[in-house]
């Protein structure tokens, strides 16, 4: 049976742009291998569609949904090595491996993503400063290139193809199978500690001070001004051991690997604009700050509310309204990171581009992937209502600041950056594009992001 397509409404997580386009949905990698060489249109491989940016949509091409490639193929319970198809979501991985004492070694802020998508975006988590990005937990993968050939690559075998795919934005081929290393855990609980900070200076100082914590991330009040600017909550976490359970809540010792179901709450409509205006955001941020600064002692949190707080409301991405929002995430190097973070926070706060969840985090060294986002330093992620020309100018100014300082914008979350900064931000972009062109000479794989930024 030949592959058939269906026209569907597609959008990235930030809803910009929302399009209607054909989607192919194969069941096996053999179908994809037969399909790719004969495909006459551009193909955008797509997982769960949880990337914020336009990497997962293409108005002038077709999409290849990998959600039916959702099979687990092998699980080594002793070593914690899982082999599965690319369309398996992290939720499914966790539901399988957590009761057996394992957890994804690196996991982004949502468990709805597919493992293939995490690889193609080289996702990072709250433990990047210790464990690195998702690709660094991948021991091997099967990649289908545009000629329908299967490449088995790993950091040892066909390493250049492996690293070009890590954070390769789906341009090298279709990831059909992955082998990942999991991390051993003693329970499904996280021992957390929240530390409130007064200003950005203190936030950054405390982040550095607590760099030995396995999980560390800081929420900041993006609208606080003056001496409160950059005040926030540093959230630290460790996988709770049996001892911790015994100390904090002995009843949990009988069922240390309790799973949490994803809640079924969702936003059934697009809220009116006033729900996310500056006043509402200021109010939300102040309440959030107060609520979290009270609980500064160590306590147990379940893995879902620690790692995936946003997953608790499905379609929360509607909060900023029908026009969607902008997720601005940058990484800046260690040496001038503080000043740039300060400048960005100050500018956005002054111009009223506030956010529900602004997050700052320390990052460890990057990996050999030429397009992989993380670099050693700090990363700052801010979501904001999509504005008009003035906001574009402000953000472009910040892009210049970041690019000139040797930092970069996260392309996976981006829907607006100007292409003139790309080569400064990603100095190995050209080398990567040439390599990708060798594997995809026809330019079969593409996406709106690639067109917009002329990435290849």
């Amino acid at each position: 049976m030949n592959l058939r397509s269906r026209v569907e409404t597609l959008y990235p997580w930030a809803l910009r742009p929302t399009i209607r386009a054909p989607v192919y949905r194969p069941d096996t990698s053999r179908e994809i291998a037969a399909f790719l060489p004969s495909a006459q249109v551009e193909i955008t491989p797509r997982g769960a569609g949880t990337a914020y940016g336009d990497i997962c949509v293409n108005p002038c091409g077709s999409h290849l949904s990998l959600l039916r490639l959702d099979k687990f193929l092998e699980f080594d319970k002793e070593q914690g090595i899982l082999t599965c198809q690319g369309g398996v979501t992290l939720n499914e991985v966790i539901n399988l491996v957590l009761p057996q004492g394992w957890f994804p070694a690196v996991s982004p802020g949502t468990a709805q993503s597919t493992v293939g998508g995490c690889m193609a975006c080289d996702a990072h988590g709250k433990n990047h400063h210790i464990r690195g990005s998702f690709a660094m937990t991948v021991k091997g993968m099967k990649l289908l290139t545009s000629d329908g050939q299967t490449h088995e690559c790993s950091p040892e075998q066909e390493a250049d193809l492996f690293w070009a795919t890590a954070g390769g934005l789906g341009q090298t081929g279709v990831i059909t199978q992955l082998t990942i290393q999991l991390a051993k855990v003693e329970s499904s609980w996280i021992k957390t500690r929240n530390i409130p900070t007064r200003d950005l200076e203190e936030t950054l100082a405390l982040i550095d001070e607590h760099a030995d914590a396995t999980y560390s991330v800081s929420w900041i009040d993006s609208l606080a001004r003056g001496r409160h600017m950059g005040r926030g909550i540093i959230m630290l976490g460790e996988h709770a051991t049996m001892e911790d359970l015994l100390r904090q809540n002995p009843t949990l010792c009988d069922r240390p690997f309790e799973l949490r179901k994803a809640t079924s709450l969702f936003l059934p409509f697009f809220p009116p604009p006033w729900a996310s205006n500056t006043f509402a955001l200021r109010f939300f941020n102040a309440v959030y700050y107060r609520a979290h600064s009270r609980s500064s002692q160590t306590r147990l949190t379940n893995y879902r509310s620690f790692f995936y707080p946003l997953d608790s409301v499905k379609s929360w991405n509607r909060i900023y309204g029908r026009r969607g929002f902008i997720e601005y995430q940058v990484a800046v190097p260690l040496r001038n990171g503080r000043e740039i973070c300060l400048e960005i926070c100050e500018t956005l706060s002054r111009t009223g581009n506030g956010s529900f969840l602004a997050v700052i985090k320390r990052m460890g060294p990057g990996n050999p992937g030429p397009m992989s986002f993380p670099i050693e330093g700090y990363t700052l992620a801010i979501d904001m209502r999509a504005g008009w020309d003035e906001q574009a100018k402000i953000l472009d100014g910040l892009d210049r600041l970041v690019a000139e300082a040797g930092g970069r914008v996260y392309l996976v979350k981006d829907s607006r950056v100007d292409s003139r900064w790309i080569d400064t931000m990603y100095p190995r972009r050209r080398e990567w594009a040439e390599f990708v062109a060798r594997h995809d000479p026809r330019g079969l794989f593409s996406s709106n992001l690639v067109h917009r930024l002329n990435l290849r």
Binding site: R4, R25, L73, F75, Q85
Partner: protein, 249 residues
């Protein structure tokens, strides 16, 4: 003789509904006996079921287009206890416009949708008759209710399956063997992807749960989803002189 209590045979295991049925029975801890034409796909599915549900999964091959395939599958199954439930989900509407102009293709549609199922039942009939309490679930289609211009071959094959199920049900009744015919509506499967309107389409998981529910209730014939019952009865009441004048659909 009694059949093996917690074992289920799924012919057409790699179909969307077949996969969901296997997952549902896997969740209940049943032993899964899978048969499909696509061995590679079935191997992936079996690996997944073993990992997710920690159940025993047996893999066989069956190709409805090959008459000898039924014999070899039945022979292979003779070496083990007969399972309590047998699901037969083979079907392919084919490519109606071309199939009607091609004898080989026309025969193929009949073979896949009707002959394949009967050949298999024929090979296993002795065993089925010996095992009181077995249940055979044949997955038909709402297409079998009335012939339509868009795909006469498929409608006819599915209608034949209905009548076959009737005969079989009467024959096996005294042997304590149940025969359930499922008139399945549109399911979001590889077969219907891109062809049917989403609001008419049932997810494979829901379809599987409803099929199992009907099987457990010991039903003979069931529409899934059940709102097809009034819709199809209405269609059936239309007199033929009017039916033939309706715009083709």
């Amino acid at each position: 003789m009694n059949p093996e209590p917690n074992a289920v045979l799924i012919i057409g295991s790699t179909s969307s509904v077949g996969q969901s049925l296997a997952a549902e029975y896997g969740r209940r801890g049943w032993r899964l006996i899978l048969a499909s034409r696509d061995r590679d796909f079935q191997a992936e599915e079996a690996a997944d079921l073993r990992i997710r549900y920690v159940v025993e999964v047996e893999e066989y091959s069956y190709n409805a287009e090959d008459p000898f395939s039924a014999k070899s599958l039945a022979n292979a199954l003779r070496t083990r206890m007969f399972p309590k439930k047998v699901f037969i989900l083979i079907g392919d509407p084919g490519n109606p416009e071309q199939d009607l102009n091609d004898a080989i293709a026309a025969i193929r549609v009949t073979q896949v949708n009707y002959v394949g199922a009967t050949a298999l039942v024929a090979e296993m009939l002795v065993q089925i008759e010996e095992h009181r309490g077995t249940q055979i679930i044949l997955i038909g289609s709402i297409a079998g209710i009335r012939g339509r211009a868009s795909n006469p071959l498929y409608c006819a094959a599915k209608a034949a399956l209905e009548v076959f199920a009737q005969g079989l049900r009467q024959r096996l009744y005294r042997r304590g063997v149940g025969v359930l015919l499922v008139r399945l509506g549109y399911v979001d499967s590889r077969m219907s992807y891109g062809l049917t309107a989403p609001f008419l389409t049932l997810s494979p998981g829901k379809a599987a749960r409803q099929i199992i529910h009907a099987a457990e209730a010991g039903r003979d014939v069931v529409f899934i989803p059940n709102w097809w019952l009034p819709a199809m009865l209405t269609l059936r009441l239309i007199p033929e002189w009017l039916w033939k004048r309706l715009p083709p659909f």
